[in-house]
């Protein structure tokens, strides 16, 4: 078989390079640094944030000497379940370590406060106000981390 002429060879090479660049850039379209935006996760963050805020609203509305753990145990379990779902929802998405980390820290603190309330069988107003604000801040970080993934953000 006759070898292609040098001119034809250069022609092929040029096209191979163009195709390679196109493939590279095409891959760039799907190359990801971070998980895609998920509307349901964002909604779940707002829902969990609302539940936690309502929990503290109810707690602070109750006289300090009447804040036995048993009065709040049901809400603790419900909210813990919501938070675990939120962590799971984040964890199953690849390239989503930052959002997972934020939600895991929220869950960690929620469990810590639940155990503390259980062992002390009360929750002081000063601590509750600080904890409520902290959760509010952490949920806003979770929402911002998810919202930033929105296209055209």
């Amino acid at each position: 078989m006759k070898a292609p002429s040098p001119r034809l060879n250069a022609y092929y090479k040029f096209h191979i390079v163009i195709i390679a660049i196109a493939i590279f850039l095409a891959q760039g379209c799907s190359f990801r640094f971070i998980a895609a935006y998920d509307e349901k996760t964002e909604e779940a963050i707002f829902d969990a944030s609302k539940l936690v805020d309502q929990f503290y609203g109810k707690l602070l509305d109750t006289a300090e000497d009447e804040r036995e753990y048993s009065k709040f145990s049901e809400q603790y379990v419900l909210i813990e379940s919501e938070l675990k779902t939120l962590v799971f929802r984040n964890k199953v998405r690849s390239l989503n370590e930052d959002s997972t980390d934020i939600c895991e820290r929220i869950l960690k603190l929620w469990r810590k406060y639940k155990e503390k309330h259980k062992s002390k069988d009360t929750y002081s107003t000063g601590t509750a106000k600080l904890d409520r604000n902290r959760f509010s801040r952490m949920f806003s970080y979770a929402a911002r981390a998810e919202g930033a993934k929105k296209p055209n953000n």
């Binding site: 760039g28 820290r105 000063g126």
Partner: protein
């Protein structure tokens, strides 16, 4: 030994600026927000202790918990930075493919 919170936060912001270098304009607002949040939170904790709303043991616990909140804030900054890079990459790819489609 005294602790100047404002100076410490300014130093932290300067350190972050040096680390992020070129990406700093994209990161600045989120980083500033996290540091301001932390400043307010530490102020609230100190005031609660001064008013006697929390005791020394609770103060220590509150500071430990603030570390969690602060690190959550840093994760938010990280996510936001990655998202900015992702959007830039997507926009670049879109421009290229629009040009290719127009050429075809």
């Amino acid at each position: 030994m005294s602790f100047d919170l404002n100076k410490t936060l300014e130093d932290m912001l300067a350190a972050a600026k040096a680390v992020f270098a070129d990406e700093w304009p994209d990161v600045k607002d989120d980083m500033q927000r996290v540091l301001n949040d932390e400043k307010e939170a530490l102020k609230d904790i100190a005031e609660a202790r001064i008013r006697g709303e929390i005791n020394d043991e609770e103060l220590e616990e509150q500071l430990k918990d603030e570390k969690e909140a602060f690190e959550a804030g840093l994760s938010m900054v990280s996510a936001s930075t990655k998202a900015t890079i992702q959007h830039a990459l997507n926009a670049t790819s879109e421009v290229f493919w629009n040009a290719v489609r127009a050429a075809i």
